[in-house]
Symmetry: C2
Subunit: 264 residues, 2 copies
């Protein structure tokens, strides 16, 4: 049996258990009952199921600690983002000021999102009142949106611009939400989006101005042991990459070595 064979609810509980073992080193029935509001009998059942998934280095119950303790050679069975990890490690009570920095809250107007989702789903073109950041002017234009994209903080969308005759990335926040969002059929097939269908392979290394010891720390922090870190993205998103990975900042830890492109 694997995680995939489990029902969604139990799978989540077992993933949480796995994360407790991986990042805390211990887990108790109480962790499940408090987190998911389940009974202790069900929590016991979940531990039994979790242990049945583990073939090597299984956690063992320690009567002194009154907890299941992970093996020193524990291998996680589920991936974790840093947000997941922090969610397991943070010990806050709910009402105090958080130990996490708030993200810059980005606003996406549901009216804009809905109009774009509808146009994408039904493959129609859309008339938007769009504010250009360079000129500061808001003007109507027709676009054929093809896909939402996400740079890690903001949602953008990829669209064919009838004004420019090419594919562009657009910011939904620059669309006037009070507009009436006229739509129409796309009469002729859109041209091929070459940038979207091209993979950029980016090679990064610790910045050249770092010492050997500092570079080793950067490698450890970004989890790579060789000389280079390899990242694959769609070429259409490359514009956002340097900013999102902090490569243009003063004191950047990583720098780009080279970029290759591959047609998908």
């Amino acid at each position: 049996m694997t995680l995939d064979n489990l029902k969604h609810a139990q799978r989540q509980r077992l993933v949480f258990l796995d994360r407790c073992f991986t990042w805390r080193g211990v887990a108790r029935r109480r962790d499940l009952t408090e987190r998911f509001g389940i009974s202790t009998a069900q929590a016991a059942n979940d531990f039994r199921t979790y242990l049945s998934l583990i073939t090597q280095n299984a956690p063992e119950y320690d009567g002194h600690l009154k907890a299941y303790v992970a093996s020193p050679n524990h291998q996680p069975i589920a991936a974790s983002s840093m947000l997941d990890v922090f969610g397991v490690l943070d010990i806050a009570s709910g009402d105090e000021l958080p130990a996490a920095l708030p993200r810059a809250k980005r606003w996406l107007d549901p009216r804009v999102a809905t109009a774009l989702y509808d146009a994408i789903s039904n493959q129609r073109k859309l008339r938007i009142a769009y504010t250009s950041m360079s000129s500061g002017e808001t003007a109507p234009q027709w676009v054929a949106p093809t896909r939402f994209t996400f740079d890690g903080e903001s949602i953008h969308f990829r669209a064919f611009s009838y004004k420019r005759g090419e594919y562009r990335n657009f910011h939904p926040a620059r669309i006037e939400p009070e507009d009436n969002f006229e739509t129409d059929e796309i009469e002729m097939p859109l041209q091929f989006d070459r940038e979207w269908n091209t993979k950029s392979v980016i090679w990064l290394r610790p910045s050249a101005n770092l010492t050997t010891a500092q570079a080793a720390v950067v490698r450890r922090e970004f989890g790579f042991s060789g000389d280079l870190l390899r990242i694959e993205i769609r070429q259409a998103l490359e514009f956002f990459f340097d900013h999102r990975w902090g490569l243009t900042e003063p004191g950047a830890r990583l720098e780009r070595v080279k970029t290759e492109t591959i047609i998908l």
Copy 2:
């Protein structure tokens, strides 16, 4: 009845429904059956439960679209991060290159996390082999860790440093994970962490070099309508703030106006 009264599994399904209505403008039974692997009868039951939570502007079934359509004045009943929103809007099939930029993958060694979690939970001091970024040297030192923190990308920890005689922020990635992590009792009560227990109230505005129209777009993008955007964080995390919010970058959209501090 509210969301809080529901079991965890159903609550998640109803939150997902709410997000479909908010961001897509439509929802179908299929959205639930495909996302959560439940039966259509259960999905029908979830729609019924969701509609029972909505007192005004309820979605209505549109036989033409064969979908439930959100009211133009729909009000969400659950909050969404941009990641949640993108998860609802993205239409990718699983095997293709994602439409989202990958995050810089940060590595946290589970051995380090476990040692820190144990020290924090049991209020003990810990000996760590720590690499200083400025000197590049790795040296052992004793710290009393008090809390994990998260800047939005990396996990850090707050600790009293016996070497410096004050509280500092530390990076777990700079700890040598092969160390044996000696621990000991904290003999005397630690001094009060003033920075941790102080709130910084930061006021931001669109950068002064933007035009009025550009500033309006920035306001819309960050979701504030007045002159200033107010952010509250722990003073201990203020060091990370400018970087995380991109205030030091060339072309930054926001700038800091003033900062106030409040003892908690």
